[in-house]
Structure formats: structure tokens, C-alpha cells
Amino acid sequence: MAAPDILPPKGVRPPIIGPGQTFGTITDRIAGIVLTKHTPVFWVLVVAFAAALFGMLQTAVAYLLFKGTGIWGITIPIGWGFAIVNFVWWIGIGHAGTLISAILLLFKQTWRTSINRFAEAMTIFAVMQAGLFPLIHTGRPWLAAYWLFPIPNTMGIWPQFRSPLIWDVFAVSTYFTVSFLFWGIGLIPDFATLRDSAKTLVVRRIYGMLAMGWRGSAKHWNRYETAYMLLAGLATPLVLSVHSVVSLDFAVSVVPGWHTTFFPPYFVAGAIYSGFAMVLMLAIPFRYLYGMQDFITLRHLQNSAKVMLATGMIVAYAYGLEMFMGWYSQDKYELAMVNNRLHGPYSFYYYMLILCNILIPQSLWLNSVRSTPWKLFLVAIVVNTGMWLERFVIVVMSLQRDFIPSSWGMYWFTKWDMMIFIGTMGFFTLLFFIFIRLMPAISIFEMRTLIPQAKVKE
């Protein structure tokens, strides 16, 4: 199935779509994945495994609701632990999707087309994981679920809008909705394709409903394109705002290590960084398993790698800045924070983070790494680990030692913390593979525009 990647001669960039593709071949190859009768073995295996992890997640959450957040490692002073770390990590991952589809679209980066669809899916599923944590990390989720939203009630009490946590609620839920709409309307024409290429009436009916009767009329396309462009225009500031708001959850506080003005850009860069790492972690196996090398070419991998390199450097700069500001302020608490990062009980994690997020990714300067899928895959894994550690360092190491020495404390995570974290990965994978099986993982109609025949000759 897998066609080997052929490196083009030096100086020539690989194409963004393999040679010899026609409207028909594109349609059949991509729609084929969905409409085929026989399900590939690896799909069954992965889904089974992911489902098991999902089961573990459900168990852990049920126990959590039954017993209370005490089953986690959190304590006073470290009131936030794995839950918030995971939340920020997942929401960060959830950024690449919209970024790719929206910002690259505005910049007319045609190479986005073959990866935007599943990048968007990835976003939605990642945000679903992220959204889980802020809810279950509260002491009384059943109340948080409705007191955090401005719902009329008999108490005459409303949310407290000065709290960054409320901003968070709005930002994340908006982000989820918008990404979902964006993804959804992108799918309509492809559903139409599936409707028309499906064999059995049932399948055609199902996709028919989803396609809402799309028929490719010029007037429709015209409005469709406008709406799509505008959505992209809206999603761009949104995607930037979401992680900025997330970063405000910390920046607004007084905690040394949180209370910093450069958190928003720093967090956004980090988010894109991990987002692209996740895209690669998904794209590389996908193109291999489904033989999609013609659609997701080395060009895509290389570009993603470059974006990672760029954002990675921004993140590195932020780390430097954090340390510098700590020193420059000469504020005793900031200095202590820096010192704690470097020599505190958790300094090991800090050095690991430097290794994963700064040192190892430097290998992306090498063309050989950028052009070798399995190497990229490894780097991507390292980066995502590093990004998780970054959040751990920010959340735990800052809270662990703040102002009054007598209340300094330690944090140990429990098996429940782990189960829930791993569980969400399973849930994510599960959703993603189901998506691949049931929906076109690559935007068919946009792929069509990439081939020569698509142009109107005068």
C-alpha cells in the first residue's frame, strides 16, 4: 500500500500532490477509505485498544465523582495538578487545526488543503478532552456545570465576570462551537460526493441527509466560499484569543511564576508548537497506513516541521525571558521562583522540558530530519512530551513554593491522575479513528482544485 517517498533532487521542493491524479482518482481514493466494505485490521485493533482506555477513563471519572477530588495528588498549596496541566496541554494541541484551516487559508497556502480536514477533526476531539478537565477538577462538578454559565435561577446570583475562569468558559465553548461549524460546513460538499458515490441506498440516504441536498450550484458555491472565508477570518483571532485567555488563568493571579505579562504570546506559540507536533503524529501514520503519500507529501511534512521549528524558537525565547525577567526584576519572590526552577525539588522536570522543547527540536534544522517521516514522528512525540512538562512546570512548580515559606508543599500525583490522563488519550484516538472511517479525512473538493485540469483556460 505504502508508496515509498522519493526525495526530489536538491533545490526542488516536493510537490503538494502526487503526479497523474485526476478528479476521478482523487475522489475514488479518498472516498474509497470511507465507502469500502472491508475494515482494515489495524483499524479494528487500534479502536479496540482506544476503547479500552476510554473505559478506564470512565471508571476513573465515576470514582472521582463518587469520592471527591481528594483521590488526586492535589493539595494545599498545590490546588491545581494534573487536571489543569492536561487541560492546557490538550487545548494547546487543539490549536493547530483551526490555525491550519483558517490562517493558512487566508494566506492562500494551498498545501494546507490535504491536511486541514483531519487537523480540524483533531482540534475538535482535543478540545473535547480539554473541556472535560475544568469541569471534573471542581469540587462539585454537578454545580459547576450550571453555575459557571449565566443561567437564570431562583437565587438571583450570576457568574462573577471578573474571574478568568469565566472567560475560559466562554472562550473554550466558543472555540469548540466555531471549530465545529468550520469543520461541518467544510464537510458538506464532500458528503454530497459520498452520497453520490455510495453503492447502497441506505448509505446514500445517510450521507444525503448530512449533505443537506448540496448540488454544487454556482450560486451556492459563491455564498459558500464567502462564508468559509469569513469564518476563517473569525477563527484566526479566536484561535489566538483562546490560548491567551487560558494563559490569563495564570497571568491574572499573584503567584510568582504565573504573574507575567508575556504569557499570552508564549502560550499561543506553545500551543501551535504542540499542535503541529500532534498533526505530524497523526499524519505520518495515516499517510503510511492508507497509502496517502500522494496527497500528504513530504512537502506537507517539511512545512509542518518548519512551523514547529519557528514556534519552538519562540517558546525557547519565552523560557529565556522567564528566567531573565525573574533576575531582572530583582524581586525576591521572582528570584526564588527562578531558583526553584533551577534547583528546586522538581528541577529535573524543568531540565527535561528544556531538553524536549529546545535542544532535541533543533535537529529540525537538518533537511534529512525534516524529510524522513519516522525521524519527524519521533521529534513530534518528544515535543508533545516537552509541552506537557512545560505545563507541569508552570502549574506545579509555581504553586509549590510561593510567598510564605511555612506553607510550601510538595505534589505527588496518584494512579487516578494517571488513569484519567491516559484515558483521555484513548478517548481522543477512539474519536479520531471513528472519524477516519466514517468521513473523508482529506477534503476532496479542495483537493480537486489542486490539479492542472481544474483551471479554466482562456
Binding site: W80, I157, Q160, D402, I404
Partner: protein
């Protein structure tokens, strides 16, 4: 509100002086059945199907007394389950039907919903602490000191505060047993009577009584009558923490027993020779002494303050407050005493003194000579008789007797030296001379000197009867066990350290058919069945034949003491005839000190969860006792120290094996800064095999190695470091201030030079009551009319705080604060709202120690508030940082953002929803917090509200001092002052305007309402620094 009071009548009937109404039976039955859970038990134990179904129905638990009626009894299970409760949907779920049970006949003095206060006293090992007890519908809920009484002046100590929990302890002995089998009282009475008759025939030969030290005149009188009709019988005394040294010392000096009474208010220079008079209740008169002493250090008028020298062998809070602290090994204290005495012209000779010690003594002696008659030397309870004798002599030589110290006849009834007394008893038992042994209170099988082998001897006794409020180690060797009443359950009387007598009146009928010590004796005076009330009254009648007894009795009971019953001072002159030779101390030998545990005393309080979870003042560990050694020793043995990198809330501490006189015990060590080298301090009271669910499996048993020959001090211990570990739970992670100066301190001269040393930085300029300097925020006082009428504020004097922990326990009692258990404390989830940080500074061999109580600061710019997404913590118009439990969803952001870390979170269902007896003791005016809710100090909002409502009804303002927070009220040293800072005449306002006031973390501009008064130390200029090495 009402639903807490309305249904309580049932309990009162439990109190009506006519016995057993039907409800009472119900109550007792419930209590008997009540297999109460561990206090910190959590949800899994009680998932009950029905309960689960009803989860939605309630947000917070039904409160005290509600359990009596079946309907809501079920409600309890539900609620126990209800930590899971989809609680707080209260808005859109139905409330269950609730019963309301009025009295049948309402006691006339009772106004339902309003507390009543009764005066009484807590007897404590030979003296007593006068109390006022708050009762709600005749359920005692909170203990305060008796302000009218000289021995309390309104303050109390942590034992008194926590004693109320013993009353409601579900693990108390609830049943009368014979060889472990349930028996009715009648059967016991018969058995006892026949025995009495038999003994009478024999002149009481073979009849022995064993009690602790007793200060009850009525009991003494009963004993006398017993002695008359049973001339051969003997009354033995044993308290593991006794005053033998003091007694022997006074015999040496005066040839008889006298109790010293100190007048710290008259002393400009105080010297403590291992005397821990600022630590707690085992130093009789602590409450009063601490207040008098600290009044000399307030610097409120002028720059005069007293000076404290402490020479001590085991770090104590007294040492922590010292201006000069000399670290000594236990055996060296006597030598210092001799040296000092010699210098002051007492005819004794000292052994070898080190250079530092000599220098110290010289300076000290000089200082004392300057203050003849205005100074005071205090001997340590646990130091040798010689030290006591010497200090009497020294005080004599300095002309202090009559000025700063006076001597009265012992307060203890028929004082004896306990060590001697118990030795005689055991000897007689072994000799077969003892046929009947009546043990009232105590736990001799556990705490008598190990070398005497009490238990072995016990088996030779034919009939053994125990009156005790707990079934303990001793019970196993008894024929009969009779539950003894708690002091709040029965009439009695007692005398405070100065001899003043108090009538102890009960607050509630015995919950478990208990019998009082008086009733125990009544059998031997042919008065079996007579109530304690009668017995006590009869005695006092006999004392006051002339007066109109009814009124006399009423006033005595009402005031809480018998007028002018304080013992008169005796004119005595100490003379040092022949002191026993100074025991030769081998500097190489490791010396052992045995000390009562700071929070559970001699073990009597081992099943008291509040005290178990109260951190020991210096080591800050809970739920265990540690063995203190010096950091140097720890280092030498390669053990870890407090200044190690990791913060250690919970530590696997290395276990030491301590061998003393051939007996071994395994102890977790604690590297205590300021502990002498080549010495180890073991704390008594833990490691009991037979105790309740709270005490079970806590700590090690130091009695295992405590011989009669070395009750407090011994030399020649052998210590081996094992490879095993002991998890201890410490509430403080870090003992160094890390150049952040949470505690500001200066020497007296510095202070006189620069009064504003506490806030030199402009950021630290105090700001109060919304009178703000420049700020981006609006001025809520002027713009939004906040803080107009009242602006509550608190001031904590770091000079006065002795870290005795009483405030922490008082707060726990007042605010229904849950206990979480050792495992949770190790995780850092302790709940006490006010914590007392202790910091060490300087040379670990003899550091300066500082205490800092930290409650909620009630910041005007509270960082916790804006980050709460649901507005569960917001500011009131009086400047309180309100915490609305029922609105809280538990994001914990407020705690993260609290720079003082004073917020506590219910990680589990910590509150005990279903142990009936515990509900009785709760404060009905404070919500019991459910799972997933943040909580914190509220300045005792319930007290503020009560006082405000009272004042409004009388159409006046709240008077200064009318509101006392629980922590303020209990504080023996008046370190905590609370009041309205808008009122220019209020005490708190005045203190806050004083120069030493400072705000904690002022640079954050949180504008705390709780502020501190910086500490000032008064070292002797002639001595280099406040801290010398021994």
C-alpha cells in the same frame, strides 16, 4: 438557624434533672448502638441505596440533634452519602419534609435558639481551670475561660478547649462490665456492698484506692470519712506526670510541702531553670502566668519590658520566647543552678562550668542583683528536687519571696510523692497485702514505671474495680469496669492553682450511665446511690454551717468559684541544709528526658482527634510523637535535617532504637534545632495498645523505657539508627524564613532607636479601613459606601504569642472544623483555620525561634475574590472576606491565589455526618461544610452577627470588646485583639496605630485587615547575643 435548635428538646430531656424520659432512652440507645466511624471516614463506607436515591435533596447536613427522629435519621445516611450529593441544586429540587419537635414542658430559663453559659471548672491532675461553658438547649458546645476567676481571666488552654470532644467521644466507655461481660449497675452495687461489708469487718485491711492527684475538697472529705471507717485502708496516688520533684524540693528547702505561687507581673527579670511555664496546662497556673508575664512585654506604655533567661535541656515554647537561651543537657541544669546560687551567696558549690556557662551566670547574677525583689527564678517541674530547693533559696536570697513568689499550702488534697506512693502500692500488692483495689481514673497498667511491673503485681489482687471513662489497658486486668462520668456530666468541685475553690456543675446528664468519682466512694460511706450533687452539697454545707446555704450555693455555682477561698500565703524561709551531692555527669553519655506530649499530655487525650491533629508547637508534627535529638547528632548519623532541599510535609523519618536501662523502644527521630547534643527527648502518652479509633496505632510508647528511678531525666541511653522508617505527618514544610521576614523582630535598643523598624519600606506603610493611598481601584469606602459603620480588624502581637496552640483548637471547636487524619495531613490537607507557623533563625544548635499565628487576613484587596468564577467568596460591607460555602463549586483558584495560604479545602467528605454523639457537640450557628467546598477563617462571623443583632435590637452600636473571636477569647497572653477599626477608641485601632504594627506581605498591597505587631527581644547588653552555646 431554627432547624438547629427546634428539634433539640429531645436532648434537653436528656438533661432534665428527672431521669430518663422516653427520648432519653432513645438517645442512649442510639449512642450505645452508634458504631461511629473514624472522624475522617469518607464516602465509600456508606453508599446506601436509598441514600443514593435521595442525594439530590439537601445541600448541607442536618445539624445537631436532628438524628433523634427516625425520618431525618434516614436523612443522615442520605447525607453521609451526600458528599456525592448533587448538592446545592437546592434551587430547583424539593426539600424533604422535616420534623419539628417542641418540648413537652419547656424549662423556664431556656430560650430556644439562644445559648446559655454556665460556670464550672475542669479538674486537671491536682488543680483545676475555671470555665464558662456555652450550651445550646443544654448541649455543651464550646468551652471558655471564666473571666471572673483569677486563675483564668477568660482564657483557657488547648486541653480545656478539646476536653469537650472527649465528652462526645463515641469511643468512650459506655457500658459497665464484669470480666468484659455486660452487667447491670445493680449487680455491681450488690457485689460492691458485700465487699464493703467484708472489708469493714477487717478494719479495711487489704483495701486500697488508687487515683491521680486530686484537688476536690469534697472528694478529700469523702476519703477522710472512708479512712475513719476503714482505718487499715490506704489511698495511693499515681500520675505519670506528677510534681514529685517540686514536692521533694520544697521538703528540702522548707521541711514541708508548699506550692509556689508566682507573680510574674512584679518581675522585671525572670529566670527559668528548665521551667516550661509558657507551654501549657501541665504547669499549674500556666494560663494566668502566661498572661502576667506577657503583660510585661507589651511595650504599650513606655519602653519598659521584662527580660527572660531560660536555661533548658529540651526545647520548649518558653525557651523560644527567651531573650537569652542557654542550651544544657538535662543533668547540667542543676549545676547551673548551683553556680547561680553560689554567685548569689547561697552556700553551695557548683561543679565544673564551661566558659560560656560561667559568663552567662555572671551576667545573669549581675542582672538579678540589680533587680532584687523584682526578679524571679522558676524551677522546672521536671528538674531534680535540688534545683527546686536551690531556686527557693535563690529567690529567698534575692528577697523575692512575698514580692514575686509566695508559698501556699498544697492545692492537691493530701499531697504525696506519687513515685513513692505507687512503689508502696505495688510492693504491697506483690506482698499479697492488697485484696481489693479500687482504681478511679487513670491507666496505671499503661503508664506506671516499667521497672515496677504493675501488671504482674495486679494479678495478685483478689478484687479489682476500675472507674474510668475509657476502656484501656488497665481494664483488661480488672474484674469490674464502671464507666466514669466526664467532668461536664457530674457535680463535683476542685481548686485552681492558687487554691480558689470552684463548684463543678454538670452541663448535661451522663450520656452513658457513668458514675462520678464521688459516687464511686459513696459505697464506702454507706451512701451508695446518693447523687454527686448531694454529696458535694453535703460537704460544702458542713463547711458553711452559719451562712444561708441556698444563696451561698447559688452564688458560688453561678460565679464559678467560692469567694475568698484562695489559699493564704505562708511565711516560710528556705534554708539549704544538705543538698544531695551533684550527680557526676559523664559528658559522653546520652541523656534522656521524658516529657508529657505537648498535645495529648500523658496519654489521657490520645483519643481526642482535635488534639491529635493539633501540631506540636515546635516540631509541627501531628498524630505521632517524635524523639527530639540535636541537628548535630542527626548530621553525625547521616540523618536528614530540616534545612534539606525538599519540603517535607510528610516524611519517612528514620527509626531510632533507644535502649535505656536495658529496655528498648523504637522511635522516629526529629532533628530539633536548639536541642542539646548527646541527649534525646522522648514524649509520653502515645503508643497505647487499647484505645479508641482515633488513638489506635499512633506514636510510640515511651513508658516502655521509663523507670521509677528516672521519671524525667536519666543518663546512659544507647541509640542505634535502624534502617526502618516511620511516616510522620508534619503540617509545616519549611522552617526557614528565606529572607522574607514574615516575622519582623528587633532588639529593644534597636526599637527605641527606630520605632518604625517594622515598616521602613514605603510599600509597607499601613493602610486601613479603606483609607487608601493612590490606587487604580475605586475607594470602596468613599465611592461605594463600604466600611462605613463597622470595619472589623484584628491585630496579632508576635511578642506575646507563645505558640501554645490553644487558638487553633478553640477555632476548631467554635467553627465545626473537620479532622482529616494522619494520611491526609501528610498530603497537606489539614483543616485548622488558624495555623501557628514556627520559624528558626541562626545557628541550628541554638537558634532564635519565632511563632506566627496566621488566620485569614481578610484583605481589602483580596486576591482570592476576583478569581472566583461564581462569586462564592466576596467582600462584605464591613470588610469581611465572606466565604459562601453553599455557593462554592470548588475550583480551588482562590487558594492558589491566596499569598497567605490560609484557605482549606474539603477534598473528601471530611465532616462526620453520622456519628450521633458528635452532632451533639457541633456549633449550631456554623454550617457543617460538605465535600468539594473551600473554607477558611471568617472572624467568627456568627459571633459578629449575634452581637450586631443584639446591639441593633437595643438601638446602640456594638461596644468595643463585645465581640471576641474564638481565638482571641482563648488566648492566655492576649496576643490576639479583634474589633472595629473605624472606632478610634477601640483597642484594636489603638494597637494598629502603634509603631510596631505591620502588614504581612504588605508589598502585595492586599491591605489585610489582620495585621501583626512586630516582636521585640530584650537581650542583656552584657551578653553578646541572645543565643549562646552551652
Amino acid at each position: 438557624m431554627s432547624n438547629k435548635s427546634d428539634s433539640s428538646p429531645n436532648l434537653i430531656s436528656a438533661n432534665q434533672i428527672k431521669p430518663a424520659s422516653l427520648e432519653l432512652e432513645a438517645v442512649r440507645k442510639k449512642l450505645a448502638e452508634a458504631k461511629g466511624p473514624k472522624y475522617w471516614r469518607t464516602l465509600e463506607e456508606l453508599s446506601d441505596q436509598k441514600a443514593f436515591g435521595e442525594l439530590l435533596e439537601r445541600e448541607f447536613p442536618r445539624q445537631a440533634s436532628e438524628w433523634v427522629d427516625p425520618v431525618s435519621r434516614r436523612g443522615f445516611l442520605k447525607l453521609a452519602g451526600a458528599s456525592m450529593a448533587l448538592a446545592g441544586l437546592a434551587g430547583c429540587t424539593r426539600q424533604p419534609l422535616e420534623q419539628i419537635l417542641p418540648y413537652v414542658r419547656q424549662p423556664e430559663q431556656l430560650v430556644p435558639g439562644k445559648p446559655i453559659f454556665y460556670a464550672t471548672a475542669m479538674p486537671f491532675h491536682g488543680h483545676a481551670l475555671p470555665l464558662l461553658v456555652e450550651t445550646h438547649e443544654f448541649r455543651p458546645t464550646k468551652i471558655e475561660g471564666n473571666p471572673l476567676h483569677a486563675a483564668s481571666m477568660g482564657a483557657t488552654d488547648l486541653f480545656a478547649q478539646a476536653s469537650i470532644l472527649n465528652l462526645y467521644d463515641p469511643d468512650r466507655s459506655t457500658t459497665l462490665t464484669h470480666m468484659g461481660e455486660l452487667r447491670p449497675w445493680g449487680e455491681f452495687a450488690m457485689a460492691l456492698n458485700s465487699e464493703v461489708r467484708a472489708r469493714k469487718a477487717l478494719q479495711g485491711a487489704g483495701l486500697r484506692f488508687l487515683t491521680g492527684a486530686v484537688s476536690s475538697p469534697a472528694f478529700g472529705w469523702q476519703m477522710k470519712t472512708v479512712q475513719q471507717s476503714f482505718p487499715q485502708s490506704k489511698w495511693h496516688r499515681w500520675d505519670p506526670v506528677n510534681r514529685d520533684n517540686m514536692r521533694a524540693g520544697s521538703k528540702l528547702a522548707f521541711g514541708g510541702y508548699y506550692d509556689p505561687i508566682y507573680k510574674f507581673e512584679n518581675a522585671a527579670v525572670v529566670v527559668s531553670l528548665d521551667a516550661d511555664f509558657l507551654s501549657g496546662a501541665w504547669f499549674p497556673g500556666f494560663v494566668r502566668y502566661a498572661r502576667d508575664f506577657m503583660r510585661g512585654r507589651k511595650l504599650e506604655n513606655g519602653d519598659q519590658m521584662n527580660r527572660l533567661y531560660v536555661a533548658e535541656s529540651s526545647p520548649s515554647t518558653t525557651g523560644a520566647k527567651a531573650d537569652h537561651r542557654l542550651v544544657l543537657r538535662p543533668s547540667e541544669v542543676e549545676n547551673i543552678a548551683r553556680g547561680l546560687a553560689a554567685k548569689l551567696g547561697v552556700a553551695v558549690t557548683a561543679g565544673h562550668l564551661s566558659g560560656d556557662q560561667q559568663k552567662w551566670i555572671d551576667a545573669l547574677a549581675a542582672d538579678l542583683m540589680e533587680h532584687k525583689g523584682k526578679c524571679l527564678v522558676v524551677p522546672g517541674e521536671f528538674q531534680s528536687p535540688a534545683v527546686h530547693a536551690l531556686t527557693h533559696a535563690i529567690n529567698g536570697a534575692l528577697g523575692n519571696i512575698g514580692q514575686t513568689v509566695s508559698y501556699i499550702d498544697p492545692v492537691e488534697v493530701d499531697p504525696v510523692e506519687h513515685g513513692q506512693s505507687i512503689r508502696e502500692l505495688i510492693a504491697d500488692m506483690n506482698a499479697g497485702k492488697v485484696e481489693t483495689l479500687i482504681i478511679i481514673g487513670g491507666n496505671p497498667a499503661y503508664n506506671t514505671p516499667v521497672d515496677l511491673e504493675f501488671v504482674k503485681a495486679l494479678d495478685k489482687v483478689k478484687l479489682r474495680i476500675q472507674f474510668s471513662s475509657y476502656k484501656n489497658e488497665t481494664t483488661d486486668h480488672m474484674h469490674w469496669h464502671v464507666p466514669e462520668t466526664h467532668y461536664l456530666e457530674a457535680w463535683s468541685d476542685a481548686r485552681s492553682y492558687d487554691g480558689t475553690a470552684t463548684i463543678i456543675q454538670p452541663m448535661i446528664m451522663p450520656l452513658y450511665d457513668g458514675k462520678s468519682a464521688h459516687e464511686a466512694l459513696s459505697a464506702f460511706t454507706d451512701q451508695l446511690g446518693t447523687s454527686s450533687h448531694e454529696l458535694v452539697q453535703t460537704y460544702w454545707k458542713s463547711q458553711h454551717p452559719t451562712v444561708d446555704f441556698e444563696t451561698w450555693w447559688r452564688t458560688a455555682v453561678h460565679d464559678g468559684f467560692v469567694k475568698d477561698s484562695a489559699s493564704p500565703a505562708r511565711q516560710v524561709t528556705p534554708k539549704i541544709a544538705a543538698l544531695p551531692a551533684l550527680p557526676a555527669a559523664d559528658p559522653g553519655a546520652i541523656e534522656v528526658s521524658f516529657r508529657p506530649d505537648p498535645t495529648i499530655y500523658d496519654g489521657a487525650f490520645i483519643n481526642n482527634a482535635w488534639l491529635q491533629e493539633t501540631p506540636k508547637p515546635l516540631s509541627r508534627n501531628t498524630w505521632d510523637n517524635v524523639a527530639m535529638i540535636s541537628p548535630a547528632m542527626a548530621k553525625a548519623w547521616g540523618l536528614y535535617l530540616l534545612n534539606d532541599e525538599n519540603d517535607h510535609q510528610s516524611d519517612a523519618q528514620r527509626i531510632l532504637e533507644v535502649e535505656f536501662q536495658g529496655r528498648k523502644v523504637e522511635v522516629p527521630y526529629w532533628p530539633q534545632p536548639g536541642h542539646p547534643d548527646n541527649a534525646i527527648t522522648l514524649f509520653l502518652g502515645y503508643g497505647q495498645e487499647k484505645t479508641g479509633r482515633v488513638g489506635a496505632g499512633t506514636g510510640y510508647d515511651a513508658y516502655k523505657v521509663r523507670p521509677s528511678t528516672a521519671q524525667y531525666i536519666g543518663a546512659g541511653a544507647i541509640i542505634t539508627v535502624t534502617n526502618r522508617f516511620w511516616d510522620i505527618a508534619v503540617t509545616q514544610g519549611h522552617f526557614s524564613m528565606e529572607e522574607r521576614e514574615p516575622v519582623k523582630v528587633a532588639n529593644l535598643e534597636e526599637f527605641i532607636k527606630n520605632k518604625n523598624f517594622a515598616h521602613e519600606h514605603p510599600d509597607e506603610e499601613p493602610k486601613d479601613g479603606g483609607d487608601r493611598q493612590e490606587s487604580l481601584y475605586p475607594n470602596f469606602k468613599t465611592k461605594e459606601n463600604f466600611y462605613q459603620k463597622y470595619a472589623w480588624g484584628m491585630s496579632i502581637d508576635l511578642n506575646s504569642c507563645v505558640g501554645c496552640q490553644a487558638c487553633a483548637v478553640a477555632c476548631q471547636a467554635e467553627n465545626n472544623i473537620s479532622v482529616v487524619g494522619k494520611e491526609q495531613v501528610q498530603r497537606g490537607r489539614e483543616m485548622q483555620w488558624i495555623r501557628i507557623d514556627s520559624y528558626y533563625e541562626g545557628d541550628p544548635a541554638n537558634p532564635s525561634v519565632y511563632f506566627q499565628p496566621v488566620p485569614c487576613m481578610q484583605c481589602e484587596n483580596a486576591p482570592c475574590e476576583p478569581v472566583c468564577p461564581v462569586g462564592a467568596t466576596v467582600h462584605s460591607t464591613e470588610g469581611l472576606n465572606d466565604m459562601v460555602y453553599n455557593r462554592c463549586v470548588g475550583t480551588r483558584y482562590c487558594s492558589n491565589n491566596c499569598p497567605y495560604k490560609v484557605r482549606r479545602f474539603n477534598f473528601f467528605l471530611f465532616a462526620d455526618y453520622d456519628t450521633p454523639s458528635l452532632k451533639l457537640g457541633r456549633n449550631p450557628d456554623v454550617t457543617v461544610r460538605s465535600r468539594g467546598v473551600m473554607e477558611k477563617c471568617t472572624y467568627c462571623i456568627q459571633r459578629i452577627t449575634a452581637a450586631r443583632i443584639a446591639s441593633e435590637k437595643e438601638d446602640r452600636d456594638v461596644r468595643d470588646g463585645e465581640i471576641k473571636t474564638a481565638c482571641q477569647q482563648v488566648c492566655p497572653t492576649e496576643a490576639i485583639v479583634f474589633g472595629d477599626i473605624n472606632n478610634p477608641d477601640s483597642r484594636v485601632r489603638k494597637i494598629k496605630d502603634g509603631p510596631r504594627r505591620y502588614d504581612l506581605l504588605a508589598e502585595l498591597n492586599t491591605r489585610p485587615r489582620t495585621t501583626y505587631v512586630a516582636a521585640v527581644r530584650n537581650p542583656n547588653p552584657k551578653l553578646a547575643s541572645g543565643t549562646e552555646r552551652a
